[in-house]
């Protein structure tokens, strides 16, 4: 005897699995091409070509197959584990980094519901009630991978890189959390889907317009959390050889790189979701009964926004010089955290004021 509820839940499981695999593939594809994009953009900014050889046969196609070539190369290279390294942690570290970055994608709303085969499917792996907190929690774990890798290598440059990661991440996580507190006060919920829907309508409904300071703080701390230029001190190559991944080679190194780009890509999605209306289109109302087309459009809209921020990541990397370590911590603790606290009070005060005078904020 088949219970109806089990069938329902089986269908639900299948549906969720498909959505998960689909989103996973898309994200991985974007990440793979982000590595190519980075080098292309670097080339453009430095007035050179960048990789342009790996094409199909005679057609170079701007090096379209470069990610595949890179991946193959990573797998082919000799995998070296230093003698004095802590073997288990050394192997675990890159995996952990990649997983911690990847788990973020579970909570990000990549699109609205789509209707397919008569079923309404949400383009989000899990509509977690505490979406923002979930992402903060997972994001705060990313540090372990890098710290573990740096420590397990048994190399002083790696160790320094690991140490820097820890202090940097801890400091900027606070900024990030405090910036998001202000956002959550305004939206009244940490659920990401709700936040996106609240931002639909005219373009000034986007949170970036109501939280300019919060956005700035959040954006800066995202750079630090992804350890991207100008905050890439964990791997600062002219001080620390290559920082935490000095001893890594082959696919383990590849996983670190891949993890970094995954982190960046998902962070871009997160920024778009929180401050730039997510998958909504300005002035276009969210339809009551979304069809397949709307679902695909919303999915595309989010990615357009996200790709823009991904581009900014790269643009900044090839434009700004690196901070010094003490400057980084000084900026975090003495400038950004007080500003973030001020931002919370400002937001709360303004909301109170609006409520008092009956203006919808």
């Amino acid at each position: 005897m088949l219970d109806l509820s089990i069938v329902m839940s089986m269908a639900f499981l299948v549906e969720k699995s498909i959505v998960t695999v689909f989103i996973f593939i898309v994200v991985l594809a974007v990440v793979a091409y982000a590595t190519l994009g980075e080098r292309k953009i670097a080339g453009y900014l430095q007035d050179r070509h960048g990789p342009n050889r790996a094409g199909i046969g005679k057609h170079k196609l701007w090096g379209i197959l470069q990610p595949i070539a890179d991946g193959t190369k990573f797998f082919m290279k000799e995998d070296i584990i230093p003698d004095k390294a802590n073997k288990i942690l050394f192997v675990l570290a890159p995996t952990f980094t990649f997983c911690a970055a990847g788990f973020i994608m579970a909570a990000i709303p990549f699109g609205d519901r789509i209707t397919i085969f008569g079923r309404e499917v949400l383009l989000q792996i899990a509509d977690i009630n505490l979406g923002i907190l979930y992402i903060l929690a997972i994001g705060s774990l990313g540090v372990y991978g890098i710290a573990m890798g740096g420590w397990a290598s048994n190399n002083k440059y790696s160790l320094m890189g690991g140490l820097r990661t820890v202090s940097q991440m801890i400091s900027y996580e606070i900024v990030m959390g405090l910036a998001l507190v202000a956002l959550m006060i305004d939206h009244g919920t940490p659920a990401l889907r709700q936040i996106v829907i609240q931002q639909s309508g005219p373009i000034w409904h986007w949170s970036v317009f109501s939280h300019p300071l919060g956005f700035l703080l959040f954006y800066i701390s995202v750079f630090a959390e992804c350890s991207r230029m100008p905050f890439d001190l964990p791997e600062a190559e002219n001080e620390l050889v290559a920082g935490y991944h000095t001893e890594y080679s082959s696919m383990k190194f590849g996983l670190f790189q891949f993890g970094e780009y995954t982190h960046m890509t998902l962070a871009s999605c997160f920024i778009a979701t929180l401050y730039f209306g997510g998958w909504t289109i300005p002035w276009v109302a969210v339809p009551e009964n979304p069809g397949l087309i709307w679902g695909i459009i919303s999915f595309g809209v989010l990615w357009i926004k996200a790709l823009f921020f991904l581009f900014v990541f790269m643009w900044v990397r090839w434009t700004l010089p690196r901070f010094r370590y003490d400057q980084l911590l000084y900026l975090g603790w003495k400038k950004l955290i007080p500003l973030a606290i001020f931002n919370i009070f400002l937001t709360a005060g303004l909301i109170l004021l609006f409520q008092k005078f009956g203006i919808a904020g």
């Binding site: 903060l136 929690a137 705060s140 540090v143 710290a147 573990m148 160790l159 801890i170």
Partner: protein
């Protein structure tokens, strides 16, 4: 389903907690500690307190344990050399085991013959779910528990001042 998850979580928790105190290498200890924190978060989720679970991970696994790791790494503590000499007072170890086993027996006997906890059970899943929400917790903190909440602030102030007093450069 919940029962199975509880047992799995409980076993992992016990295992990782044991590893925390038996590992000689401090970094492994801390990483197992993080695993233990994770399992606690799992328990919170099972109990319907998702907010606490998230906070548990953000604060304990994401911040406190990271700072432990930072300190251990900065001091570059490796596995300690095998200690020479014997224990100062040989009776402590068996005494510790005896106390531990005694406490275990006490709790098992309680489980076997418990009159049930005096805490009133919640009315079904909805109430449990509601209690786990952030707004519920916020209301409780700012009404019934306002005094402990504020005192905790003063306590943290004291801790910060104390840390600064002990750590700041000597000025002579």
């Amino acid at each position: 389903m919940q029962g199975v998850m509880f047992i799995v979580l409980a076993l992992v928790t016990l295992f990782s907690a044991l590893m925390v105190i038996t590992r000689k290498d401090p970094v492994s200890s801390i990483l197992y500690l993080v695993l233990t924190f994770f399992c606690f978060a799992g328990f919170y989720v099972l109990l319907g307190a998702q907010f606490l679970a998230a906070v548990q991970i953000i604060v304990y696994a994401g911040a406190i344990a990271v700072l432990f790791l930072f300190v251990v790494m900065m001091l570059n503590l490796r596995e300690p050399e095998a200690e020479e000499g014997k224990e100062l007072i040989p009776i402590w170890k068996p005494l510790g085991y005896a106390v531990g086993i005694g406490v275990g027996i006490v709790f098992l006997s309680y489980l076997a013959s418990s009159p049930g906890p005096a805490i009133p059970p919640l009315n079904g899943g909805d109430e449990i779910y509601a209690m786990g929400r952030a707004d519920f917790l916020g209301k409780a903190l700012f009404t019934d528990f306002i005094l402990p909440f504020e005192i905790a602030g003063v306590l943290l102030l004291a801790a910060v001042l104390g840390a600064v007093a002990l750590a700041k450069k000597k000025r002579v």
